[in-house]
């Protein structure tokens, strides 16, 4: 396979070009999409290419998310752009009570090919209303699939699968990774939802992570490799459905597990993963599963405060040492 280096945003836009060409029921709806190809430039070239299928809305998230759902129920395949994941709050009924439940409640009558695309994450001094990682809300809601990739190639393969899904998918992309480059195959490909990826092989401890923290975990692994500690890094990529098989296989080999995410610790998705490892792999563990997440406060503005609240590479290094009992 030939590859080239693309940023996450470029890979995302390429995927959308391919999917919109392939299927003319695919359309994009959200705020401020057309003037600047999306507020992060994420829809490069699409508004001019598809004047009728890239639709600007007023500032009306409740309705634009709900309208995405209505269109999905009636033959279209919308990608709803949410501007910032923080604005999920303004359309929670449409997502949690409507999109997530309609198929089940109505006895399996409906198909809901709806993707809600939500840029999330901190690290930009954007403060409490523009920095959150809210994935735990959605994994706690049966009826939604949840994706949060890290690498450009994963972004591309997963968004293509998400668009072809007949179920509602919440697709997070970390704002700090938009410019992150990585190799992306030139040929067309899909990555199925529900499959993790081992980003680094190791025998001593398994880190289970996703989104931006994958890069942080890889950096921590690099640092510890110098000391002879071999860390395996699993990017689960999809939170729901979860590739627990991959996690289990790895933990059975390393006997140690550390779960890392940027979202705040309490009630985070790390708790779910840790609980499952505890329940299903207790006999394989040499130490308690440990979690790393942000501190339990809103994201503060001042960079010093924000860095203190968000997990850093050094926290992951410390976490690994703790699990391995290296003092």
């Amino acid at each position: 396979m030939t590859e080239r280096l693309l940023s996450c945003s470029e890979a995302f836009a390429e995927a959308l070009h391919e999917e919109m060409k392939r299927d003319d029921t695919v359309f994009i709806i959200g705020e401020d999409l057309r003037a600047h190809d999306g507020i992060f430039g994420q829809f490069k070239g699409l508004p001019s290419k598809y004047p009728e299928r890239v639709i600007d809305t007023p500032i009306s998230e409740t309705c634009l998310v709900g309208a995405g759902l209505g269109a999905a129920l009636t033959g279209m395949r919308p990608l709803v752009d949410l501007h910032f994941a923080d604005f999920f709050t303004t359309a929670m009924d449409e997502i949690a009570n409507q999109a997530a439940k309609i198929r089940y409640m109505f006895g399996g009558q409906a198909r809901i090919p709806l993707v809600i695309w939500a840029p999330d994450g901190g690290g930009l001094s954007a403060a409490a209303h523009h920095s959150q990682c809210l994935e735990a809300w959605f994994v706690h809601t049966p009826g939604l699939k949840v994706v949060a990739p890290s690498e450009p190639a994963d972004v591309k393969g997963l968004i293509k699968s998400a668009i072809r899904e007949d179920n509602p998918v919440i697709f997070f992309q970390h704002k700090k990774l938009f410019a992150q480059k990585g190799p992306v195959p030139k040929e067309e490909y899909l990555i199925p939802l529900g499959k993790g990826d081992i980003k680094r092989k190791g025998r001593d401890i398994t880190i289970i992570t996703y989104s931006r923290m994958t890069y942080f975990a890889l950096e921590a692994a690099k640092q510890l490799a110098l000391k002879g500690i071999e860390v395996e890094v699993i990017d689960i990529r999809t939170l729901k459905p979860l590739d627990f098989e991959m996690i289990a296989e790895s933990v059975k080999k390393t006997y140690h597990a550390l779960v890392v995410h940027e979202a705040c610790l309490t009630g985070g998705f790390g708790a779910e993963i840790a609980a499952r490892i505890g329940e299903e792999l207790f006999d394989d563990l040499d130490a308690p599963v440990t979690r790393i997440g942000a501190k339990d406060v809103p994201i503060p503005f001042s960079p010093l405060l924000e860095n203190y609240v968000l997990p850093q590479v050094s926290d992951i290094v410390r976490g690994i040492k703790k699990v391995l009992n290296l003092g």
Partner: protein, 325 residues
């Protein structure tokens, strides 16, 4: 509340406040250019008549709920530019100890219930303030500033309805600067008028030339009188324009530089008022010059204070979540 009732000093104070807002915003833009302000900022240059005119007809103990473009509202309500700059530079002596920044600046001691990072987040809060005023039987009022874009949020309509049925002392002050980020009102605003939406709720909807501080005063003044006398809410739509991008660094492909220049040349709220004051012989050239110098000094002192101010300690991040732990 008309011009005739305004004394010379009041007029000059209004003018000076407008100069102060502009100087603050221009300096904030400069500091942002120099990478001294983390995150992103939204400036209100061009909209000074709306913030200053509105806040000039309310009392210190009245409430204001603001927006992401809130620096002008804060200053107009009487905030200290020192602590404002300290906040947007992320310092511990800032209004919110560096936790809020530009988009979350507030001074509750001034009845300023906060800037807001979520468009349309202020409407229900203002309704709650209005309800509380009614329950506490005070004669305060609550102002909620909002943009043309925010008028398309459901919260706007829910808030209007509730404020109207309970005749709450809430004034919905729209700063219609014609754009919501990249989106023009010609595209997004059904019916073409925000004040016009009042009619559905049976309340007054006033439209003001939002670049004329005296007209803003007069019209908001009418709504204030109504609210204070228990007659209920109003919408005031101040038609204005923002000179800068939606945020600093906005590529602004959605409008032409000529459009911006046209507004600057013909409708600049400060220039318009200055000419009027001079024609009425309330302000002389030399007095205006001195005023600008004074304002520049206030801003310079404020920036100096903010730059020298201590950074927060990292562990401070864990404080202020709850009243008690």
């Amino acid at each position: 509340m008309n011009q005739a009732k305004l004394g010379k000093t009041d007029m000059l104070n209004l003018f000076k406040k407008m100069l102060l807002v502009r100087a603050f915003e221009e300096k904030a833009g400069e500091l942002f250019q120099q990478n001294l302000i983390p995150g992103f900022i939204h400036l209100s240059i061009g909209q000074e008549a709306s913030s200053v005119g509105t806040c000039s007809v309310i009392r210190p103990n009245d409430y204001v709920a603001s927006t992401h473009r809130g620096h002008g509202h804060m200053i107009a309500k009487g905030a200290d530019p020192k602590r404002m700059f300290a906040e947007i530079l992320g310092k511990s002596t800032g209004y919110c100890k560096g936790k809020g920044g530009s988009m979350h600046i507030a001074d509750f001691s001034l009845g300023f219930l906060g800037a807001n990072g979520v468009v349309g987040g202020g409407f229900p809060i203002a309704v709650g303030a209005g309800l509380s005023i009614k329950l506490r039987r005070t004669d305060q009022i609550a102002i909620v500033f909002f943009g043309d874009g925010a008028a398309n949020r459901g919260t706007f309509h829910e808030a209007l309805n509730m404020a109207a049925i309970w005749k709450l002392p809430v004034i919905f002050v729209c700063e219609n600067n014609q754009y919501a980020s990249t989106t023009s009102i010609s595209y997004s605003l059904a019916g073409g008028s925000i004040a016009g939406r009042a009619c559905a709720y049976g309340i007054p909807g006033y439209t003001a030339n939002g670049n004329d501080v005296l007209e803003v005063r007069e019209i908001v003044g009418r709504a204030v009188l109504r609210a204070r006398s228990g007659e209920g809410p109003s919408i005031v739509e101040n038609k204005t324009y923002r000179y800068r991008g939606h945020f600093e660094g906005d590529p602004q492909k959605y409008r032409s530089p000529q459009e911006i220049d046209g507004f600057k040349k013909e409708q600049d709220p400060i220039a318009v008022f200055e000419i009027r004051l001079k024609t009425a012989k309330v302000l002389t050239d030399s007095a205006a010059k001195k005023m600008r110098k004074d304002v520049a000094q206030i801003i310079e002192d404020a920036v100096h204070y903010a730059r020298e101010a201590p950074l927060p300690q990292p562990e401070d991040a864990m404080e202020d979540l709850f009243v008690n732990p």
